[in-house]
Amino acid sequence: MNIKEKAIKSFFMENPVTGLLLGLCPTLATTTSAENGIGMGLATTFVLLSSNVVVSLLRNVIPNRVRIPAYIVVIATFVTIVDMSMQATLYQLHKTLGLFIPLIVVNCIILGRAEAFASKNTVWHSFLDGLFMGLGFTFSLFILGSVREILGSGAWLGIRLIPESWNTILVFVLAPGAFLSLGFILIGMERLSRLFERGK
């Protein structure tokens, strides 16, 4: 498959969040800022990538009946590795993302990709799939994080955009704002997808 096409697909049409509506919990919970969004996205990408590769490697060894538990164990292993290494290296970020790092295990995207793709494709393809799906995920987290940070804190990637004395719309860093922003972003992404589809 053409890499560019694949990239566009996983960023828009088949974007895990806006296209497939999966992995919503980390999406909404960790996107109080663009930076957090990227952090979560990359952590997920790493797990997605590694587990895709390992699942693809093991795809002929694992008996069908236990494939789900087996995949879960594989995924959980990588999640724990991410968890520990982030704590060792990116301590502050790890603290903000908190509970949602271990919860990558149950992020539906990961198991879904392991099942739908990696268990049936070559290692290289699974690697690419993991990479792009992960980046697509990161992308939407980044967008959502940006919107919420700009509206809610008046800053972007930590850089203050409006004067200190101005008010920011606090809701956007809180729970309701997460849902509302995602609602509107979904529409934007849908529009973009259609644009790309027509462009093809």
Binding site: L20, L21, L22, L111, G112, E115, A116, F117
Partner: protein, 270 residues
């Protein structure tokens, strides 16, 4: 080394307990189910995300097998998966000639005038509640577009008081047919070019009064047809698609233009 092996053994223990527990349980509590459900489920991603609207992959598999349909695609899986499932269940219908919906009426505003000033809900079914027909012809297309609403493929539009079907877009799904209160829509194979575009079963004079291009049941077409493909019943000509060769003789013979040749004339030699 111990600090590495010990966790290994512990988790292996966990795995052993749960795996053998499940294994035994699945033996002991075995329940028969259509084995194809398992097969379909195996093809599905197993992400159990619920994205398809069913409660997990198995529920979708049950739906597919029990209702024998692949109408609900899995949002996670590649499209090929659904094809595979269709193959597995032999759902692929054998290749058939394309069918298109066809309106058996030519009662445009010119041909069959409006008989009233209908102001109710603009829907064919709503209109027949108020009056059997809103045009002079009791059998005419009402032109309020219940069928248009029903078509999922944007293949219909209303033009000059009757519905016009875009045969390119029409998929022959047939949904529109049951949505017409006047029963004016039928499916016909695209290669069938000759159509009686009338459904009026009144006697000739009344039919004529109601619509300029009505079939008056004069029998001329029946007489002229060499293939016994057209016959008049209840003062209305009808074509047997099996027998019709699209020769066009009846079209020539009809005094009221109630028979129509669609597109290029194609002669089929018997």
């Amino acid at each position: 080394m111990v600090e590495i092996l010990l966790p290994g053994f512990i988790l292996a223990g966990f795995a052993l307990i749960s795996a053998s527990g499940l294994y035994l349980a699945s033996k002991k509590f075995y329940v028969y189910e259509d084995p194809r459900i398992d097969e379909v489920e195996a093809l599905l991603p197993g992400a159990n995300c619920g994205g398809c609207g069913y409660a997990g992959c198995r529920a979708l598999a049950e739906h597919i097998v029990n209702d024998h349909t692949v109408d609900t695609p899995c949002p996670v899986a590649e499209p090929i998966v659904m094809e595979k499932i269709a193959d597995l269940l032999g759902l692929e219908a054998s290749v058939q000639e394309k069918q298109v919906a066809t309106l058996l009426c030519k009662g445009t505003h010119e041909n069959s005038a409006l008989a009233m000033d209908y102001r109710g809900i603009q829907d064919c079914w709503a209109a027949v509640i108020v009056a059997d027909s809103i045009k002079d012809c009791a059998f005419a297309c009402l032109g309020l577009g219940s069928c248009v609403q029903a078509c999922n493929f944007d293949a219909m539009r209303i033009e000059n008081g009757i519905v016009v079907i875009d045969e390119e877009k029409c998929t022959g799904c047939g949904i529109c047919i049951s949505h017409c209160p006047k029963n004016l829509l039928v499916l016909r194979p695209v290669s069938q070019k000759t159509i009686v575009t009338c459904s009026n079963t009144d006697r000739g004079p009344e039919a004529r009064k109601a619509c300029k291009v009505a079939c008056i049941g004069c029998m001329k077409c029946q007489k002229v047809c060499q293939h016994q493909a057209i016959y008049v019943e209840d003062f209305l000509a009808r074509i047997d698609f099996e027998k019709c060769t699209n020769c066009g003789d009846c079209v020539e013979a009809c005094p009221t233009n109630a028979i129509e040749m669609r597109g290029e004339q194609v002669y089929v030699t018997a």
